[in-house]
């Protein structure tokens, strides 16, 4: 049943996600082309087409905004899907399916994580495309790239060796767990807001999200002060952060589970 849930979650979001990916890539292409043009006119000292230059600069700003907006819109799409399919009229269908609460929750979480990873990769690709197309206007770009790339990998390798496999794994785990924790906090805020508020559920969810983040910020500040006063090294700090973030994510998940299992009240 879980795979079926996941399939239908994916079906419900893939269309809009695909459009957002295309917007990002299109913005990357537009940004690259305008950057290429601006570098070209600058290096060629052919500034006679002022209007085109201004339009190109504006197009580049629009491309930056579009890439950023596509990333934010992805988050709204995924959390919006969670809210709509669970706490609006569509919840009447979702919560009468023969699945348990874990399957219900996890299908949405996994789909959201997949969606965010896809968008992250697409935005990375769009930025790379932007830089590659834009900077290719520079004279000797290809030769410079041939020269820089091996040196870049060499430096990256050196940094990795110095940092160590353990620290790299710890850093990547922190990034992943922080992302999942943020997702859980968002979903938990939506759940609490939807179950607790009679009206203005979205507003209530925003309030809950803000409240949780204030509490988390206070906790984080206290932890940082304690760590700074102690003899703990950077690695121990990373470990502490990882454990606390993971604990918040797990506690948030089980609170959400309990609310959906025992306090569900679709009206």
């Amino acid at each position: 049943m879980f795979t079926k849930l996941l399939k239908h979650e994916w079906r419900a979001t893939r269309g809009t996600l695909g459009i957002l990916c295309l917007v990002s890539l299109g913005a990357g292409l537009l940004g690259g082309l305008t950057m290429h043009y601006l570098i070209w006119v600058d290096t060629a000292r052919e500034m006679q087409h002022d209007v085109i230059v201004v339009l190109s600069a504006l197009a580049m700003v629009a491309a930056v905004i579009a890439v950023g907006a596509a990333g934010v819109a992805t988050l709204f799409l995924l959390i919006g899907r969670f809210y709509k399919s669970r706490f609006t009229d569509e919840g009447y269908l979702t919560f009468t399916l023969p699945v348990n609460v874990h399957q219900n929750l996890l299908s949405s979480m996994v789909n959201s994580i997949i969606g965010m990873i896809i968008m992250f990769v697409v935005i990375f690709a769009a930025v790379m495309m932007w830089l590659f197309i834009g900077l290719s206007a520079l004279e000797g770009f290809t030769e410079a790239l041939r020269d820089v790339l091996p040196r870049f990998w060499e430096s990256a390798h050196e940094v990795f060796e110095e940092f160590g496999l353990g620290n790299t794994a710890l850093f990547l785990s922190n990034v992943l767990i922080s992302g999942i924790c943020e997702l859980v906090v968002l979903m938990l805020s939506v759940t609490i807001g939807s179950i607790a508020a009679k009206k203005h559920k979205v507003l209530a969810a925003v309030g809950v999200y803000y409240g949780i983040h204030v509490a988390m910020s206070i906790g984080s500040a206290i932890l940082s002060i304690q760590v700074a006063a102690s003899d703990l090294g950077g690695r121990a700090f990373f470990c502490y952060t990882l454990l606390i973030t993971a604990a918040i994510a797990v506690a948030g998940y089980f609170l959400m589970y309990w609310l959906m299992d025992k306090k569900l009240n679709l009206n």
Partner: protein, 236 residues
């Protein structure tokens, strides 16, 4: 007869106000039962609890011996009092959805009913009128071979011709070994299809019985009996 639904001491309070108050009820297999009562009597609350959308404050509710959960939901076909399908979905996608999640879903029957109604399976829900969306929902609900059908106000807010169509769809498509619980306050319209009735008032069962037997005993229709019973009660 096997008991399909059993409620024992079922209570639901909203901020201290009881919507269901220590309700005890048993529904047997193969019956069409009218859950009848004025607005606010607890009909929808009871049906939502049986469907798994609300958690009881106290008491127990079982469907074919199973507590409310995935196993009970697999046996219950629920028609809510509102359209609950995403407007972005095509009717065929909804058929796929039901086919994926409900083993008892009869897709060919659903397609036949859609064809009979002239509903294009390729149409998106948002392109259909509200009445047609409700018909799609009814078709999908009645195309399951469920043990218990929970129909919440299936004829509320539709014209008399549509009411007849909906009731005929229910009668012609439910599995005779299944139980159908119809919640409504439009008693005269559903009376002809009911085997049993349950009068609900302020979250309690105040009268129940066989529809034919009560008509013979009292010489009154269920609609007349309903009016007589509820006119004497406060807040009706």
């Amino acid at each position: 007869m096997d008991c399909v639904l059993r409620a024992t001491g079922l209570t639901k309070r909203y901020h201290g106000n009881p919507a269901l108050d220590n309700l005890n009820l048993e529904l047997n297999q193969g019956r069409i039962i009218g859950l009848l009562g004025p607005n606010g009597s607890g009909k929808t609350t009871f049906i939502k609890m049986a469907a798994g959308l609300l958690t009881p404050t106290a008491g127990e509710l079982t469907i074919c011996g199973e507590k409310i959960g995935p196993a009970s939901k697999a046996m219950v076909s629920y028609l809510p009092d509102r359209t609950c399908f995403s407007k972005q979905r095509k009717v065929t996608e909804l058929l796929d959805f039901f086919g994926d999640f409900y083993q008892d879903f009869d897709r060919s029957r659903a397609e036949q009913m859609l064809t009979a109604l002239g509903i294009d399976p390729g149409a998106r829900m948002r392109t259909l009128s509200k009445g047609t969306q409700e018909k799609v929902q009814l078709v999908l609900t009645m195309s399951r071979r469920a043990r218990l059908y929970l129909l919440d106000e299936p004829i509320g807010g539709v014209d008399p011709a549509a009411r007849d169509y909906i009731l005929n769809t229910i009668i012609n498509n439910y599995d005779p070994s299944a139980t159908v619980l119809i919640s409504t306050h439009l008693i005269s319209d559903v009376e002809r299809v009911l085997d049993e009735f349950v009068f609900l008032y302020q979250g309690k069962v105040i009268q129940k019985g066989e529809a034919d037997a009560v008509r013979e005993e009292t010489g009154k229709s269920l609609d007349e009996l309903f009016r007589e019973v509820f006119k004497c009660l406060p807040n009706c």
